[in-house]
Symmetry: C2
Subunit: 266 residues, 2 copies
């Protein structure tokens, strides 16, 4: 079981930021990653559709007998974590949302936390609920930033248009006295620099990808499931479609050349 | 047969610009529209996936026995029009791409035509091939504008960021002496004003939605299939998912309140 892989899935390639964070936190582990690139994005879709997709994605990873499943998709974490838990039996499950919420609740000093994400994540108020389950004193202020994903994927990392859009999206939320801001979408670490510059140095950025990697290390340690010897360093990649830009995007997210990718059908 | 509906499909809601153009050109006709909102966008996906989706979309419309099928999706028009034709028997099929190409070839005076669209449409060079089939003297210069769809859907119609991005995308193409520019994506008419201002008054904009509406009128007239009495004015809408923003987007695209929508499974 210790040698079993860590299974990670996302609606597309955004979850690669989680792969990168898990590699950094757990360098001995094998990783299997499924990106549902044929049906990306989940964010704007309805809850019924998102829950169906979450079951499919879990079933896909279960073929590889993972020792833990990480839901790298904020939308699924927000709307369908129970479906993932039901579909995978006794294996532990962790998601970017709960992990990000835990870390934010620990870090905030003035109990005012901002959350940015897709429209679906923000409308669900799932971060707010998760943070208030830990500490109901914390006030959570959310803002949807729908253009951040396409801007990240277009590589407009440091573009004046990205700065203008960030300024517009973040104006209100930063005026509300938050001391902590959760990047509630796996794409947003790509735009971290612009976001940091826009909100200023007083606000601590919480990257849910880092948070879930740390949480995974805790869970595997508790269960005695850490790998004891170094395994393959490149992740095993499964995708439901191979988009034209995939190799460029892999490099943007991972900072390294793309390994072989396996095309699977959901 | 004359009373049968006109079937129109698109990967999502972008094809509503075609619905609007067809309503204007053929006010007596009944329209049935299918938007594959569960699997939108097609643009960044692979050709195999796009061809599979095109067959599904055609089958969906065929249940309603349309007298003609309009492919309102540029990506499907570019990569899978033959699949649509094979899947619908003897019914005439027309697509935004061929219609836009025909009109551009008629309008250009200096035989230099620009085309803007999604990455998939532009990479396929399908507009270039279609235009050169009509007149091989015409030089076609293309540019992918991946951020135009999310900007349109976010309602950033007249936003400074949209102007900056348009200036960047269109700088090269407008310096190449084109006198005609094809909007090769159904979303782009929403941003027509910014695009027109960016390219200047010397360049004639061709809207593929208008072009395919005119072509549909020609085909129905030739086949003696025009409706002779006024039918329902609101289109019958089918979608594979009902996104949260659908009603806002319907209003953005159609300029009127959203009618009832039928949720279907593909």
């Amino acid at each position: 079981m210790n040698k079993s892989p860590i299974g990670i899935f996302d609606s597309g390639i955004g979850g690669l930021t989680v792969v990168k964070a898990v590699q950094a936190a757990l360098p001995f582990e094998r990783i299997i990653y499924f990106g549902d690139t044929a049906r990306v994005p989940y964010g704007p879709k309805s809850q019924i559709t998102i829950r169906k997709y979450a079951a499919d994605d879990t079933a896909m990873l279960m073929r590889y007998q993972p020792k833990i499943i990480i839901v790298a998709c904020n939308t699924v974490s927000a709307l369908a974590l129970d479906i993932v838990e039901k579909s995978c039996g006794h294996i532990p499950v962790t998601g970017v949302l709960k992990a990000g919420a835990r870390l934010a609740a620990e870090v905030t000093k003035n109990n005012r936390v901002g959350v940015i994400g897709t429209l679906a994540t923000v409308s669900s108020n799932a971060y707010g609920l998760a943070i208030n389950q830990i500490n109901e004193e914390i006030e959570v202020i959310s803002q949807a930033c729908p253009l951040f994903v396409p801007l990240a994927e277009e590589g407009f990392i440091d573009h004046p248009a990205t700065k203008l859009i960030a300024a517009q999206y973040l104006a209100e939320i930063t005026q509300k006295g938050i001391d902590t801001l959760v990047l509630g979408c796996t794409h947003y670490p790509i735009l971290r620099k612009v976001i940091e510059e826009t909100v200023g140095p007083e606000i601590t950025i919480i990257d849910s990808a880092d948070a879930v990697a740390l949480r995974t290390r805790e869970l595997l340690t508790e269960a005695g499931l850490l790998a004891s010897t170094r395994n393959a360093t490149t992740p095993h990649l499964l995708v439901s479609d191979l988009p034209q830009k995939f190799s460029m995007l892999y490099q943007l997210f991972m900072g390294s050349e793309m390994p072989d990718v396996e095309l699977v059908e959901v």
